[in-house]
Amino acid sequence: MVDDTDLIAGARAGDRLAARRLYDRHAPRVYRLIFRMVGEESLAQEYTQDTFVKAFDRLEQYRGESAFSTWLHSVAMSSVLTGFRRRKRFRSRETELEAASSVAATVENADPYLRDRLTAELERLPERLRVPVVLHDIEGFTHREIGEMLNIPQGTSKARLFEARTRLREALAGVATEQ
């Protein structure tokens, strides 16, 4: 089996076949990770495409200091975060209009099951806290890998995860005692 290093060298030289093999090898994992972040197929496809366009464009920057998959995931996270923020801008006014009714709606539609509440609270976390939870607790990445992906120190990743878990536990306190 040809290893990533040879395929990367080929892709850098403009060999589309090598690039395609690199893509085939890594795209499914990148897509699954992005889907976990965005929860929509069309968006996951769009951000996966962006990831590989950027990755091939920046391939010269990859110096082999970390696994290619880790580097690729950092490009993927950059695409996702850029996409989140772009979408947030478009949605901000819409969200402000909805905010007034959200509290009542939350109580009325509260799901009695912890799992559903957990996913709801997870989705409600701010992006900077939600991302470390998904990467660490759900995807199983280490803080070192998360640090590389998000370009933050490991300590920051740990601190954000701690804060996120605290908020989740607080939000779920009532539900947990009902179980």
Binding site: Q49, G140, L172
Partner: protein
Amino acid sequence: MMRDQDLERRLSELRDNWRVAGDPPLDRMWERVEAAAFAPAPRRGGRWIRTLLPLAAMLVLGFGIGQVAPRLARKSSAPAAPESVARSPEGARMRNVSSQEVPFVGVATDYLERVTALLVTLAGQSRDGKSLEYSATQARDLLATTRLLMDAPQRLDPHLQGLLEDLELVLAQIARLPAKPDSPDVYLIDQTLDQRDVIPRLRVFLAENPISQP
């Protein structure tokens, strides 16, 4: 309250049943990737210079306003922010920050002025074909400050928080720049600044919170 171990277990259970993706349409996605990644390269450096230079000029103007405005027009009409931003709810909210969190905003303003100066320097270095190494080093320092501000115990104004998050990305991009001035990554920074309206938001914040001393 739920114990941490219980929460961890519940979260790990989501691995198999929350947002689990089906198979992606690899061939269809590849068509776009191939078309975009292997098309003849556009003249990116040209676009960077064309778009950033006016922005840099705007920044210098905003920077100057931030320094001079408190002494010239403290109680008079507000310094000129871009009309579209100044009229927006974002502009209105930014105006409220200084009265509530003056000491913190002073630190934030000083930091934002340093970011502004860095962007101006970067534009000049890129235009003149000089090494970008100095800017990358500065960006690394400012990145650390950005994260300290983001993790500060004070509850941040959401718009300042948003600006800091966007600047974190921009600074991370600059910190990773190779030294060569014609790097295609400079184009990506340009794109990020453009897509997120970073420059107008910086200007508004500096114009509305002119606390730092010259």
